[in-house]
């Protein structure tokens, strides 16, 4: 459970100032990803469940208040206020798994200003990462194709424990088949998968003995065949497959983790077929991502499944999303920020997915298509139950593989962007909104 103090100190110093001055009327903040986003033709939104859980459970504990007191920045009145702090606002959000684009509001928070301010850091922390990974996973899936089984092998390279949990969930949400992360299986009900490590093979007198032992101890064995020499390892795996057949069992697959994966996979496939083992699957791993899977397939590589680790869980080619959280309305009316290159859209908004692209509009407008933002929290209480993750995953997979060709390509920066328009009424409001009452 995230703690209340997992926040930038300035959220609290600003809140303190608002508290002392009674500046606590309702404020509206939009969370969105600032364009442009390099290397991504679209994003897959994720993180809402983390956000709702956080907002519902947010409390300052006694030890937190004692620590804040020790900083010498806050008075007793504010600490007493924090002791009773609850998030009481409304939240609008896109659904998890939805395909979205930079500039579109993903979450709108409407709450007394202090509440809306204090939650900023956590909301950005979790939505930035979960959306980053769901978006990366979607690209890996598009490269692998609808018939491949892709799983998350990232825990050892993810940025800490929470990242490992969120990488597993976000990649599954996008359409992965499972994860190696046992705790993610436990917490989220994601199928857990695993083969063996080189150290297992080395823990037995020889490779064949290791393979026999693993096949005997595991109901659906996949054998890692590259510890010593891949083609010799393959012969050992074939021998084990035949011994399993004699017992009425089947070897599920072999895993390749090093060398020229495309060339090896072709040789391994041909040899397995020749050996009368067409059902033995080839599973490939080793620093994979969407680019390497594309190249593997282009080089004639053949695989039933892929294990994707480091480059998925760290979103290696784009390790951060520029998600921001901006004031768009308060008691004074619509607000915008006009720093150079960072102009925002004012007011409460809606996003419409129409036949000719998306339209960002004011909330009360109606445009062709379906609205992406819905109210998910009212006065601090969620209005919707936690989603069925497996069902969300299925819906996201279908949406991904149904995307138009120009969005499914994983590179080619010259390809046209998906059209995201701003409605005339919203543009008019932006034009007429003064940036504060600054005498500039």
């Amino acid at each position: 459970m995230p703690k209340a103090l997992l926040t930038d100190l300035y959220e609290l110093t600003m809140a303190y100032s608002y508290f002392k001055r009674g500046v606590n009327t309702r404020a509206v903040f939009d969370l969105f990803v600032r364009p442009p986003v390099p290397y991504r033709r679209f994003l897959v939104f994720a993180g809402l469940e983390s956000v709702l859980t956080y907002l519902e459970s947010l409390r300052f504990e006694d030890e937190d208040l004692a620590y804040l007191d020790s900083l010498g920045l806050f008075d007793r009145g504010f600490l007493d206020y924090l002791a009773g702090f609850r998030f009481t606002g409304d939240v609008w959000s896109v659904a998890e798994g939805e395909i979205v684009f930079p500039g579109e509001p993903l979450i709108t928070v409407e709450a007394p200003r202090i509440e809306a301010q204090i939650v900023e850091t956590y909301l950005l922390n979790t939505v930035n990462y979960e959306t980053l990974i769901a978006s990366k996973a979607a690209r890996v899936l598009l490269a692998a194709g609808p018939d491949a089984s892709v799983v998350d092998f990232s825990p050892r390279r993810d940025h800490g424990e929470d990242a490992a949990m969120k990488a597993a969930r976000s990649s599954y949400l996008a359409g992965f088949e499972g994860t190696s992360n046992t705790q993610a299986g436990q917490r989220f009900g994601i199928p857990v998968v695993g083969t063996m490590a080189h150290s297992y093979v080395m823990s037995f007198p020889d490779e064949l003995t290791a393979f026999r032992a693993f096949a005997e101890d595991h109901p659906s064995p996949i054998l890692l065949i590259d510890t010593y020499d891949t083609l010799t390892g393959l012969e050992h795996a074939i021998q084990v497959a035949r011994e399993l057949e004699a017992k009425g069992r089947r070897l599920v697959g072999v895993r390749l983790d090093s060398g020229d994966l495309a060339a090896l996979s072709r040789r391994v496939r041909a040899r397995l077929d020749e050996a009368g083992l067409p059902y033995v699957k080839i599973f490939v791993s080793g620093d994979l991502d969407e680019y390497k899977i594309r190249d593997f397939k282009a080089a004639g590589g053949t695989a039933w499944g892929y294990g994707v680790g480091t480059r998925l869980g760290t979103s290696y080619d784009l390790p951060a999303l520029g998600g921001v959280y901006k004031l768009v309305m308060d008691a004074e009316g619509p607000r915008i920020k006009k720093s150079p290159g960072k102009v925002t859209l004012p007011g409460q908004k809606q996003v419409w997915r129409g036949p000719e692209g998306d339209v960002v509009s004011l909330r009360h407008e109606v445009h062709p298509g379906r609205p992406l933002l819905a109210q998910v929290m009212e006065e601090g209480r969620r209005r919707v139950p936690p989603p069925d993750l497996a069902a969300l995953r299925q819906r996201t997979r279908e949406a991904l593989f149904g995307l138009p060709e120009e969005l499914r390509i994983i590179d080619r920066p010259e390809a046209p962007d998906y059209p995201v328009a701003v409605s005339p009424a919203l543009l008019e409001l932006q034009k007429n909104t003064r940036s504060g009452s600054s005498p500039v």
Copy 2:
């Protein structure tokens, strides 16, 4: 506290096989970063405290055992074994904050094979990330120079909650001054810092009113002057500084977060000095990293301090370290893995920091210089108390700024690498170690 199930499933399926077969004699694993590591001339080791805490507290709870049972992969005997599982091994490690190089063993785990295997995933997860961030922070510090104050502003872009905590600790360990992460201040005793957001300025009728309010409510105010127009914001800050002087107080500084930072900083500095406010500091932020700070200074930028966020906490130019955990010895003697391009060094080792570079040797050898690896855990209990983080930080800072010129440069890949030699005795052992007893 990390949970036992935060592990790749294959650690458990391998452990199950070892358990059933009584393959549980002592095994030795080395954790090291596989060379080459792009964009880094050295690494700063971090993560040992997380490792020791994990190893001392590792337990499988009832709910974990129930979940594992539900997978249908394990028998009751193994689940009972896990119910009583404790880590009872010995651990050797480099000290946190030590400057290290790829290929050098950073942690050596010696334990019954099942114990040594099960801990692999967590050890890699935490050491890979903590070392990644300490190493990135070191580069940022070298670019900023010994007189600059550099702080962590990364929580909103770090990969989840745990990453935010570890980014704060690792960057402080490397020599940062503080963090914006309040919880990291609470847990690790790191100084917490913060200024204000644009939304604060926008929450008042005008910028000057906002600045006056913040200065009144904060004992050491730093004013963000770029919400509307930076040079107008500066005039407002100057006015507030004069009002504070009249009350016997001082404005601490102004923050620049957008625009041409180098040019603006010069103008702001000149104007502050001209206004008789030489003590007002300039604090710079906005997608900074070591490269941007170098360029800022090269362009004549002037700053007292830097807030570094996204590119620090995600180690943007190198989002993952290739740390691995390899079997190097067991009851059969020294072991190596010979996959193409992935040959390992066998046996129990030591690393010597000598006058002509580092030497990786067998543990019993003696070489000139000081040994980097020391035993930190014996039979599952730590032999050393938790370090004084502030003292470690001071030592690391001094080591960093005392590095030879060729290691302090932040780019120039053509510069010579620091020499890391392998001792003749270890090379001889590697040559004579057969890769398992495979008939290859």
